[in-house]
Amino acid sequence: MDSNTQSSHKSDGFFRSALAFGGYSGYAAIILFIIGGVWLGGMLPPLLNASDSPAQVVAKVSDNLFAIQIGSIFLIASFALFGSFGAGMAMQVRRYETTPGWSYIQLIFTAAGTTLALIVAFAWALMVFRPETYHPSIVLMWADLAYFIALFSVPVFGGWCVMVALSIFFAEEGNEPFPRWAGYLNLWMVLLFAPGQMIMFFKEGPFAWHGLIAMYLPFIAFFIWIGVMSHLMIKIAKEESE
């Protein structure tokens, strides 16, 4: 994106505020996840282990019950903001289309990704709702469900990145909604998310849902992606207001 892009796509303050809101939503989602998922919730680094027995899961969850419960509230707030974050990117793409196309596809992926992320938070919250009453294997299943939805959904979250990348690469030369390097970044993200599908086959090691390659890599990459794309949206909104 160059200076011509800026001049040929003057925006009103109303739009700029919405675009910046999309960007700040992304930042907020990261902060809320750090509080709810990293600090309190035990999602990353994982408190639980895919090879834990149901009894071990119940013991760990019970020992950290209140922190995870509070963390779940932050988690669902974080994941809900994926909606406005994704809509912000789609809005920016829409401005560069004569007839809507990529922006609509992005919106569908945004909706699907947000919905899945919300289910992750629901599963995490139900895991700590009444572990003393549920059968231990059900508590384990809530944990499995949360990580499976988060990590096994590569076609949804990876597809979302591909759609952002394609909307950049297929844009008119010098008139891209985001810088071209962001297109490559989005494609790289797909490769980082891809090992998440390996959790189906392993309960131990780097490819299990608590492992380095299948869990840490996609999770960290996803929030870095949100951070970078949020930064770009806010930057565009600020530049256009000057």
Binding site: L185, L192, F201, F207, I213
Partner: protein, 190 residues
């Protein structure tokens, strides 16, 4: 072709594709380190498992990718310099190499699974199936990229954007090649 009048760029492609290459190499470096650690920690398991691999499958795939890279390099060079009238054939040949790699890999996996080796057999086969699987995903994406390059190369005139697209796509295919050579050495030869 207008490619002849384009000033020769010092670095092919664009900065984004090189950042992508660096990022992908970074991730694969982690994979390579994991294999090396496995080799160190479970030398016997890795050595025994490696012996059960068919070196010819790996060698054949290495030759296919190297040959494919050569075809891509010729195709991109000829398009950039405005030489020849049927540069698309080089991309067709490279696509053929890519598809042959996929087919060969499927036969190799089928033979291994048929012989009772799966990702759950031991750590060596876990790395073998998963890392070659992730690489196979790269090959499939690379073939799609080559099909796109084929279409670009068939345009009557190529502008600077087309040349950049060809160079960037070519760089990705060379990356696929490079990653395989590392995997081949670590999984088949070490």
């Amino acid at each position: 072709m207008s490619g002849t009048s384009r000033p020769r760029a010092q670095v092919p492609g664009e900065i984004g594709i090189w950042a992508f290459v660096a990022g992908d190499l970074l991730v694969f470096s982690v994979f390579f380190i994991l294999i090396a650690f496995g080799q160190k920690e479970m030398t016997d398991v890795f050595s025994t498992s490696r012996e059960s691999l068919n070196l010819y499958f790996g060698l054949c795939n290495t030759l296919l990718l190297l040959t494919g890279s050569w075809f891509v390099a010729i195709g991109v060079e000829r398009c950039r310099d405005g030489q020849g009238s049927d540069n698309a054939r080089w991309f067709k040949l490279a696509i053929g190499c890519g598809l042959a790699f996929v087919l060969n890999k499927i036969f190799e996996w089928e033979a291994k699974i048929g012989a009772g080796f799966t990702p759950l057999t031991n750590d060596f086969f876990m790395y073998f199936f998963i890392f070659t699987g992730i690489h196979l995903l790269h090959v499939v994406v690379g073939v799609v990229v080559l099909i796109f390059l084929l279409k670009v190369s068939q345009r009557p005139t190529l502008n600077s954007r087309d040349i950049r697209t060809l160079e960037s796509g070519g760089i990705f295919w060379h990356l696929v090649d490079l990653l395989w050579i590392m995997l081949f050495a670590l999984l088949y030869l070490l």
